[in-house]
Amino acid sequence: MSELASPAPDIVPAPERAASVIVDDVTKVFNQGRSDEVLALSGVSLTVGGGEFVSLIGPSGCGKSTLLRLIADLIEPTTGTVTVAGRPAGQARRDQEYGIAFQQAGLFEWRTVRRNVELPLELRGVSKAERRARAEEMLELVGLADFAGHYPGQLSGGMQQRVAIARALAVQPPLLLMDEPFGALDEMTRERLQSELLGICAKTGTSTVFVTHSISEAVFLSGRVVVMSARPGRITASIEVELPSRDEAGRQAPAYFEKITEVRQALRS
């Protein structure tokens, strides 16, 4: 590298706080022009800042998963644009800018739990030793270290879901997309994983888009709760959440209950 091209150490830019996701006036129509045409999303605009935690909440079928899949570039918007990490969503996907955990665990039944978690690392060409270490660490995190050698068919639904979470976290992506990841978990495991997730996001500055059906979960986790309505899927409210702390005390705080009420009212209207 030439002398001129390398930046002087004193003008290194501050950690980026630029928007991680920009969804601009997106409409999504499934099966366009056919008799089973569905308008899944209509005029949706959403911006997720760097390091921000945003929850999507809304009635079943309102297009939460669809919005997440649009950000992940698994489907294309009918109109409008999606920008991730400053690039078109397709480019961001090819650059592996995000990790995703789907509503269904979607594990590969022929791989052990450990090798399932290793899969995205394998595709990124991470060395075998590091893959293994990272997988063990993530399984430890979701409380499944003892099941590393098991096959998905030998696990319960909630355990499979936790493996899928570990798999999404393993690559330590700058953007996390999670579709009801804690849906199949018991209350205790759920609360523990919520705290772990918050810890990871805070530590690594990960931006997160988190789909959930639980109002309390959305409020506890998020800096912002985005409320959607069905038919057609639209964003009807965006509620900023400030909690004194995100721990046991936070769950008792008056602000917490106020926000829960506010989200509930937004959902009802």
Binding site: I100, G106, E109, W110, L119, P120, E122, L123, R124
Partner: protein, 274 residues
């Protein structure tokens, strides 16, 4: 397996004891075969015949049959391997390109309706110039073997759920890596039943191919030779047929040997080829 053999032996001897020696004839059609010693020799007669020399002073029959089996096994293995590779490549191509599937699949199915008798002389003509004559028999075996593999594997490659495919897409994995990491492993439960069918087809192809191309040295040829002596020495032709059956078992065993370690932790799917 052992029980199956015992049942088959019991049925054979049972029918021989109970069946009409002249066969059962209904409205002028023989619906059940003759049960006399000429048509259905006793199992022990067949066993004895195996130990006796082929011709007076010649090698024992079992040795001749075994040697013929080995010869045909080589042909079968070559045809089976070639057919499997062709089937896998075709299946991958059909999975990759919708157009190829639509354009090719009908012909793949059609290929199996061409009578082997019509095809064999053509392929036999390649012997000596394009390839050694035993290889023409392998070609016929491959021709029969590729079909179940192509059809079964195509279904297997198309079996992953949309979720799995989306996951690979989210990892920015291209077609090849999706094939290796997702589609191929997902297809294994479909592949093994298809391989079993292909193995049986390869044996049939090799035996029939030997007969119709007039290749010497294999079990197919032996069946024809021995059946000419059926009137004077009925047990002899059955020894050759036992050899052909042994061949089928060997191939099926080889497939199982491959399957066992790979499928230990897999669910087995209900597979209907076609």
């Amino acid at each position: 397996m052992i029980a199956g053999l015992a049942v088959a032996a019991l049925l054979w001897e049972g029918y021989k004891a109970a069946g009409d020696p002249e066969g059962t004839v209904l409205f002028g059609v023989r619906v059940l075969p003759r049960a006399d010693d000429l048509s259905m020799p006793h199992l022990w007669t067949i066993g004895q015949r195996l130990a006796d020399p082929e011709m007076t002073g010649g090698r024992p029959v079992w040795l001749v049959v075994l040697q013929a089996c080995l010869f045909t096994l080589g042909i079968t293995a070559a045809g089976f391997a070639a057919g499997t590779v062709i089937g896998l490549v075709l299946a991958a191509a059909m999975q990759r390109f919708r157009i190829v599937e639509r354009g090719l699949l009908p012909y793949v199915v059609l290929s199996q309706t061409v009578p082997l008798v019509a095809l064999a002389p053509l392929i036999a003509g390649w012997g000596g110039t394009l390839m050694p004559s035993w290889a023409t028999v392998s070609v016929i075996a491959a021709y029969l073997a590729f079909f179940p593999v192509a059809v079964g594997m195509l279904r297997g490659l198309q079996s992953p759920s949309a979720g799995g495919v989306e996951l690979m897409r989210s990892y920015a994995a291209g077609w090849w890596r999706t094939l290796v990491k997702l589609r191929f492993p997902a297809a294994l439960p479909y592949l093994f039943p298809a391989l079993r069918l292909a193995g049986a087809a390869a044996v049939v192809g090799a035996v029939v191919g030997e007969i119709s191309t007039g290749t010497r040295g294999g079990i197919g040829r032996l069946i024809i030779e021995y059946s000419r002596e059926a009137t004077s020495d009925p047990a002899k032709v059955y020894t050759a047929m036992l050899g052909a059956a042994l061949l089928g078992l060997l191939v099926a065993g080889a497939v199982s040997l491959l399957e066992l370690p790979l499928m230990r932790h897999r669910r087995h799917v209900e597979v209907v080829t076609l």
